[in-house]
């Protein structure tokens, strides 16, 4: 092994410029591959971050406008969801799949006031289970509970960003718990403060939906029904469930059971499935692009090795005459090819990772306003250890591929011809 390395080193040392130029092609290939994958990862991580605010096995249901005449009604009728729909969702009909339910009722904006401080707020009336479904993280106090719902309590859960505003920049959320705040002319007791995410769509305060319905005179009305489910693993199962569920709600509103625009269902599970497919596609495309770039490098190495074999024909002839087997000769060329590829590949990989870190520190920190939402285009655009291992394997394979044809050519050299070679 030691001897083999000495041989390779000798060969590389004698052809520094040529080796460096070839190596550059390989390093460039790997550099591009790593940067592409890193950028791809950044994009996908940003995607994922958007989806992370919700548990994936949930559906959100909204009322829409009918598109089919039914039961004597014309098309274009507005369907408003109400407590009856919540009851249907909760009923034995769907209890095989449906776990937790939380309707939501949105109102606002209101002026949220505490002492002399005030800010603008949307109120979201909900059930306790929304906390789990929307992954709401409590910083202080509690979320809406069952007693709040039953007793129509005026309990409110504030966003940390609002709490900070109300306390004039202070972050001692605990001191706010139990205090009263007002929205217009209604007085609420603060029961909890939750963590706000800067990528969240809209900063809202949570209240019991029953209280909300009472104070807004929308006794039965809900804007949206959220529920978590289980046992629906395939696309078909999900579609079947959605069809049955939509039909049940449509019937309750005297709409055509198969009317798809009267009841809107947003299935985060199938959405995710599609996103997984999308990210998989992007990743594959990036690998292919990167590998194509790398192929250029491989061809370069192969070319150089062919020239090397040509130049060293006589030497290989001598080696064979004094007893080197064809495999010994092949080994020299293959080892040299793999060494050049691996050495420069690693340089490329290292530089690629540095570039990824630079991306992370620059574009990875910036975000853009997109339809009023703050969206990060790049989140953590780096490659993981798995990719590094993958690239290592790729390099060894690439080096071997680059070397194989020249090595076979070298192994086929006939000593008599090589020794008669004047060069």
């Amino acid at each position: 092994m030691n001897d083999l390395l000495t041989e390779i080193w000798e060969s590389i040392r004698r052809n520094k410029l040529r080796t460096a130029l070839t190596g550059f092609a390989v390093a460039w290939g790997i550099f591009m591959l790593i940067v592409l994958l890193g950028a791809g990862n950044g994009l996908m991580n940003a995607f994922m971050n958007q989806g992370e605010h919700f548990a994936t096995n949930t559906m959100a249901v909204f009322g829409g406008v009918t598109s089919k005449p039914a039961n004597g009604y014309q098309t274009g009728r507005r369907i408003n969801l109400n407590d009856k729909d919540v009851a249907i969702t909760q009923s034995a009909l769907f209890s095989g799949n449906v776990d937790k339910i939380s309707p939501e009722l949105f109102k606002g904006p209101y002026t949220l006031a505490f002492k002399s401080r005030h800010t603008s707020v949307y109120l979201n009336g909900c059930y306790p289970s929304l906390m789990e479904m929307n992954k709401i993280e409590m910083l202080e106090g509690r979320f809406i509970n069952q007693n709040d719902i039953k007793q129509h309590r005026k309990s409110i859960v504030l966003a940390a960003s609002h709490a900070i505003e109300l306390m004039n920049g202070g972050e001692d959320y605990a001191s706010l718990i139990g205090k009263t705040v007002t929205t217009d002319n209604i007085t609420w007791v603060v029961v909890g403060v939750y963590k706000t995410d800067r990528t969240a769509q809209r900063v809202e305060a949570f209240a019991p939906i029953t209280t909300m319905q009472m104070i807004t005179n929308d006794i039965n009305y809900v804007d949206q029904i959220n529920f978590s489910f289980h046992g629906l693993t395939t696309k078909e199962e999900n579609e079947q469930f959605e069809k049955t569920y939509r039909a049940a709600l449509n019937r309750a509103h005297k709409a055509a059971p198969d009317d798809e625009s009267s009841i809107w269902i947003w299935n985060r599970f199938t959405q995710n499935m599609q996103m997984d497919k999308g990210t998989h596609f992007i990743r594959t495309a990036l690998w292919i692009l990167g590998i194509f770039t790398l192929v250029g490098g491989i061809v370069g190495v192969s070319n150089i090795m062919l020239i090397t074999v040509k130049e060293r024909t006589r030497e290989f002839g001598i080696r064979k005459a004094i007893g080197a087997s064809p495999w010994e000769i092949m080994k020299l060329i293959l080892a040299e090819s793999v060494s050049i590829t691996a050495l420069f590949g690693y340089i490329g990989m290292f530089l690629g990772m540095v570039a990824c870190e630079v991306m992370k520190m620059t574009v990875g920190q910036s975000s853009v306003e997109f339809f009023g939402e703050t969206v990060q285009l790049f989140v953590n655009p780096t490659v993981g250890l798995g990719i590094s291992v993958g690239v290592t394997i790729l390099l060894v394979i690439a080096g071997t591929l680059a070397g194989i044809s020249p090595a076979m050519k070298a192994a086929r050299i006939r000593p008599i011809e090589a020794l008669n070679d004047v060069n």
Binding site: D3, R319, I322, G323, S325, A411, L419
Partner: protein, 240 residues
């Protein structure tokens, strides 16, 4: 007999078939010092290549030390070359980027001998040939005679059964040629090395004990030359 050739035929087929060896019968015993003489195109190089297992033959049998050398795979051929045959070439054929001692130890590398041991052995051989001071020099820093002595050391380090020398003095001046031939003679006398020299110089052939003339692919006369009176080195030779 160490070497036994029976009716060896060889034809090259480069567009037009060229019958180079037309039935060679030859026996060379252990410890002999033989030269094969012939003009260019006589087939002597082809014969040497076959003897050195560098080339195949079409017909006949070649027995080397009791083994039939025929239709060997590349790997087997390499093995036999490594263990049984030492080569000395006209143009030395040293590897330029290896020092003298590295060149000498290379055949042992292909035998899998450890670096330390082969280095020791190579140094021993170089000392024997008076080249110890030049061990770490590269071939281009050596004179022609020194290069050929390094090449002979490399050929002998594996203790081969035969030493094949192809025009060993072809690239040397006459003084150095005499030195190299003296060295070969001494190796044959003291170490009992079997040596076959291929040459077209009668002066070189005269140093050997037996001269085999080859002409048009067949063996002509064989001259016993124990007295070394066939042709004195440097005078009435063909080329020099």
């Amino acid at each position: 007999m160490l070497i036994d050739l029976h009716n060896i035929h060889k034809t090259y087929d480069n567009g037009q078939p060229l019958h180079v060896l037309k039935g060679i019968d030859l026996g060379i015993g252990e410890g002999e010092f033989v030269s094969i003489m012939g003009a260019s195109g006589s087939g002597k190089s082809t014969l040497l290549n076959i003897l050195g297992i560098l080339d195949n033959y079409d017909e006949g049998e070649y027995w080397l030390d009791g083994k039939l050398i025929k239709n060997l795979s590349e790997k087997e051929a390499a093995h036999y070359r490594n263990r049984m045959i030492g080569f000395v070439f006209q143009s030395f054929n040293l590897i330029n980027f290896k020092t003298a001692v590295e060149n000498v130890e290379l055949p042992l590398y292909y035998q899998g001998v450890s670096r330390k041991k082969r280095n020791e052995l190579a140094m021993h051989f170089l000392e024997h040939f008076g080249l110890a001071d030049w061990a770490t020099h590269y071939p281009n820093e050596l004179s022609g005679g020194q290069k050929q002595r390094v090449a002979i050391a490399r050929a002998l380090i594996t203790q081969p059964r035969i030493l094949l020398a192809d025009e060993p003095t072809g690239a040397l001046d006459s003084k150095t040629s005499v030195e190299v031939m003296d060295l070969l003679t001494e190796l044959n006398r003291t170490e009992k090395v079997t040596i076959i020299v291929v040459t077209h110089e009668s002066g070189v052939a005269n140093c050997t004990d037996k001269i085999i003339h080859i002409k048009d692919g067949i063996i002509g006369e064989t001259t016993l030359n124990e007295q070394h009176k066939a042709s004195i080195f440097g005078t009435s030779t063909i080329m020099k």
